[in-house]
């Protein structure tokens, strides 16, 4: 992928157009997620807002041209709350967004902050009824005596209006901060994970969470219909039973927390959760109602020569993602991206080192990672607004930078190289001059095309791939610049540098 095709950087920057020194805290992007078709891209920010971008349909006159993304809908998903019991605020920051697959004209997504998950319905309205008998067009009621004829109201087109409405609110289920939500492949249930517990929900039912009714010898249902789900508790009254609970009896013995969780993309009974000690546990909900005993434990033995004070902290897994085909999973810890074969628990099959150790508070930064559509390339973010892509097949990787200064709107992204110390070659960035305040924590890859979304602190960059050789899908891309403009394309072959 990297060698045969020129990689284009078409940048669409959404965010503060002025120089990024003026930062509004509420604009800090906290999550980025494509929907299942890739047409929609949702971002959540620290101010509790969700902004959805829509890809323009491909232009018939220019079939090579992939649509660019424009703002589709913006709504306030979560508001700040106050926990009166603990006298603490509950942040409205959106931690995660997950799309549901589209079943009808409307789109559905789950968004969550630290405590509450909401199901939002995003629907379009481009027609409205006109010609009521009893009402004027502006809504005032007509005097009935003035009505002389009857007419049938008709739908007339109107400017497209995108409405977002909350359909479900799943609240009061988490004592600790929610770090993950994941929709099951049955599209009826989903899980939510906080530091110590994993909850199973049914999308229709908000007042309780569930565990699986364990029946030995039972045939696995394709989906968990409400009848197959045993209500584990009524959230209002009964003590809760989650599908995973690692809270110790004595909190002082707590040494490990859950950092991420995800359902398997195909097997609706399987999910994984990662921990702060660098382990991943795969659980099968058919085995028992309470999945404290994992089916598989993935852990790489520690290399004693690399041991330092921070060994545990940097081994904490910040993100776990299944591959689309469900055969692998990827974990991101502070220093590396690891790809695990689900059939081998002893060590990862691939490891990509990212950068040298940084002993400051950034060591707690949680970087996400993502797969491309055919699981051949993985991507994750880093500091200095760098992000990394690793081509698994060709064993190549590249470091790129998302910034306004370093890239013209249509130019190819120049690969960057970070040198660890010692002699710095020309064009290399020394580790010491990396800006740790500029970090890319959230990245997303279009499920089918080579389109990536990369979020810096409060800007969103969308990059598209210009294909020279055999296309990934459809034709090559003639890249448009910002909306309304058009320009020449420049290209140069990508030179892959290993960092």
């Amino acid at each position: 992928m990297c060698e045969s095709q020129g990689r284009f950087l078409k940048q669409i920057r959404f965010g503060d157009s002025s120089y990024s020194e003026r930062r509004c805290v509420a604009d800090i992007i906290s999550t980025v997620e494509f929907n299942h078709s890739g047409e929609l891209l949702a971002t959540g920010d620290k101010g509790g807002r969700v902004v959805i971008f829509q890809q323009e349909p491909e232009n018939k006159s220019q079939p090579q041209c992939r649509g660019e993304y424009n703002v589709y809908s913006t709504f306030q998903s979560h508001e700040p709350e106050f926990d009166y019991l603990k006298s603490l605020e509950i942040e409205e920051k959106i931690n995660k967004i997950r799309w549901l697959p589209q079943k009808n004209a409307a789109q559905f997504l789950l968004s969550t902050n630290d405590k509450t998950i909401k199901l939002w319905k995003i629907s379009e309205r481009d027609k409205r009824p006109e010609g009521y008998n009893l009402k004027e067009e502006d809504g005032r009621y007509r005097d009935p005596t003035t009505v002389t004829t009857l007419r049938v109201p008709v739908f007339r087109p109107m400017d497209l209006m995108v409405e977002a409405s909350p359909r479900r609110v799943f609240a009061n289920a988490h004592t600790y901060h929610i770090n993950s939500i994941s929709v099951n492949s049955d599209y009826e249930t989903y899980l939510s994970a906080d530091d110590l517990r994993v909850n199973l929900w049914h999308l229709e039912i908000t007042d309780r969470s569930f565990s699986i009714r364990a029946r030995p010898g039972a045939v696995q249902l394709r989906g968990f219909k409400p009848g197959a789900l045993k209500p584990s508790c009524d959230l209002q009254r009964l003590p809760r039973k989650d599908i995973v609970d690692i809270k110790p009896a004595n909190m002082e013995e707590l040494t490990e927390v859950i950092t991420a969780a995800e359902f398997h993309p195909n097997q609706c009974n399987t999910f994984v959760y990662s921990s702060s000690k660098g382990t991943i546990r795969l659980c099968d909900m058919r085995a028992s109602a309470l999945c404290d005993k994992h089916s598989k434990l993935f852990e790489e033995p520690e290399d004693p020569s690399n041991r330092s004070f921070f060994s545990e902290i940097i081994s904490s897994i910040s993100d776990v993602k299944f591959s689309h085909n469900g055969r692998y999973m990827m974990t991101r810890d502070y220093l590396s991206v690891k790809i695990w074969d689900l059939n081998m628990e002893s060590r990862p099959v691939e490891t990509y080192q990212l950068c040298s150790l940084y002993e400051n508070d950034c060591i707690f930064d949680k970087f996400e990672c993502c797969w491309n559509g055919n699981d051949s390339v993985v991507m994750t973010g880093s500091y200095n607004n760098f992000f990394r892509m690793f081509d698994r097949g060709q064993k190549k990787d590249v470091t790129l930078e998302a910034s306004r200064e370093s890239s013209k709107p249509r130019a190819v992204l120049k690969p960057r190289k970070v040198c660890g110390g010692g002699k710095r070659k020309k064009d290399e960035i020394s580790v010491d001059s990396l800006d740790f305040n500029k970090k890319i924590l959230h990245t997303a890859w279009h499920p089918q095309e080579n389109i990536i979304a990369v979020a810096t602190t409060n800007n969103l960059y969308i990059f598209q791939d210009k294909l020279n050789g055999p296309p990934v899908r459809g034709g090559g891309g003639l890249i448009k610049t910002n909306p309304g403009e058009r320009g020449d394309t420049t290209e140069c072959p990508l030179s892959v540098l290993s960092v």
């Binding site: 901060h177 110590l196 400051n360």
Partner: protein, 345 residues
């Protein structure tokens, strides 16, 4: 840009630490710098845990990881024989009702006293004549007597390479005199209503062995009283004591070359008042942060600033010779500070 500058200094500072650890293949400097690094990390961890004044609930994952780090340091110190089960808080900290009781204070607190100890022997091995010393002379006397004894067969990591490695006894004696000094403090300090006093009383060990040799207690009492009362006047801020504790540990490192030689009495302060050391004009403005902005990565901003400031606070001390008083007083102020935090100031 400001962040970038601060980051550079932090990297330099920590590169220095890493460089020291990495450069030496073993022997005196590496052990000392390892201890220094451990002490620094310990201090930073405590700062992360206790200086957090966020409006929202702090991250459980972060607290668990930091606490694991502190526990690991505690285990190391225990293996090195430095840890004594002392100074358990009498009351749980009130400022942490979150998370159904997850507490970091208790293990951390015992680590605090333990981690503070190793710094002392390295300072005390810069040997001392008995006269013209500031108090606590009890410490000095004990230390001198032990330093002249033959080296212990079990080497201590921080003393490798030193000309006179002290046996384990000084640590015991130091602790004993330390704890007895604490007892004296609580007797002497008039402001028994202050929370620090109550805390110190609560945390003084119940069964300290008596100091091996009768020290000139009067001197120590005078100074302790002075420190005590001045402390209780609230002149020392949390950050100052933290900075001075960390600066003191850095001071140990900067003075470690001198540990290889036996210094004479000129190494001790005779005319330098403790006031100048403890209440030197340390700029604490960087430590004051607006609570309104504390929701966004406060800890991540504070850490580099703090380390930066530690470097600045180090400079006033560079020209001052090592005294055994300093570590002793630093521990007291550090202890008081910790109790302040725990009692819930």
């Amino acid at each position: 840009m400001l962040g970038k500058g601060a980051k550079r200094k932090l990297d330099e500072h920590e590169d220095g630490l890493e460089g020291k650890v990495a450069a030496s293949a073993g022997g005196g400097p590496s052990k000392v710098s390892y201890t220094l690094q451990r002490q620094t990390i310990f201090n930073i961890s405590l700062m992360k845990l206790y200086n957090h004044r966020a409006l929202t609930e702090p991250s459980l994952q972060k607290r668990v990881l930091i606490n694991n780090m502190l526990r690991r340091i505690q285990e190391e110190l225990k293996q090195e024989g430095s840890l004594r089960p002392m100074f358990f808080a009498a009351s749980q900290p009130q400022d942490d009702p979150l998370d159904e009781g997850y507490r970091e204070a208790q293990p951390a607190f015992s680590i605090l006293s333990a981690a503070a100890q190793p710094a002392q022997p390295s300072a005390l091995t810069s040997t001392t004549p008995l006269e013209s010393c500031l108090t606590p002379a009890s410490l000095l006397e004990d230390d001198a007597s032990f330093c002249t004894s033959p080296p212990s067969p079990t080497p201590h990591p921080q003393h490798d390479g030193l000309t006179k490695p002290p046996p384990p006894h000084p640590q015991v004696a130091i602790k004993d005199s330390f704890s007895s000094a604490l007892d004296e403090i609580e007797e002497l300090c008039p402001t028994s209503t202050s929370p620090e006093t109550a805390a110190v009383t609560a945390t003084a060990p119940k069964i300290p062995p008596p100091p091996p040799s009768p020290p000139p207690v009067l001197d120590s009492k005078d100074l302790e009283t002075k420190v005590c009362s001045q402390k209780f006047e609230g002149l020392v801020t949390q950050q100052e004591s933290k900075a001075s504790a960390a600066a003191e540990s850095k001071l140990m490192d900067s003075s470690s070359p001198s540990n290889f030689e036996i210094t004479t009495s000129t190494g001790f302060l005779t005319d330098l008042a403790l006031d100048d050391i403890l209440f030197a004009d340390i700029d604490t403005s960087m430590y004051d942060f607006d609570p309104c902005t504390s929701t966004t990565g406060t800890t991540s901003k504070i850490a580099p600033v703090t380390a930066d400031d530690l470097l600045k606070t180090l400079s006033p001390y560079n020209n001052q010779p090592v005294t055994p008083n300093q570590p002793f007083k630093m521990d007291l102020t550090e202890l008081d500070h910790i109790m302040e935090v725990l009692v819930g100031s």
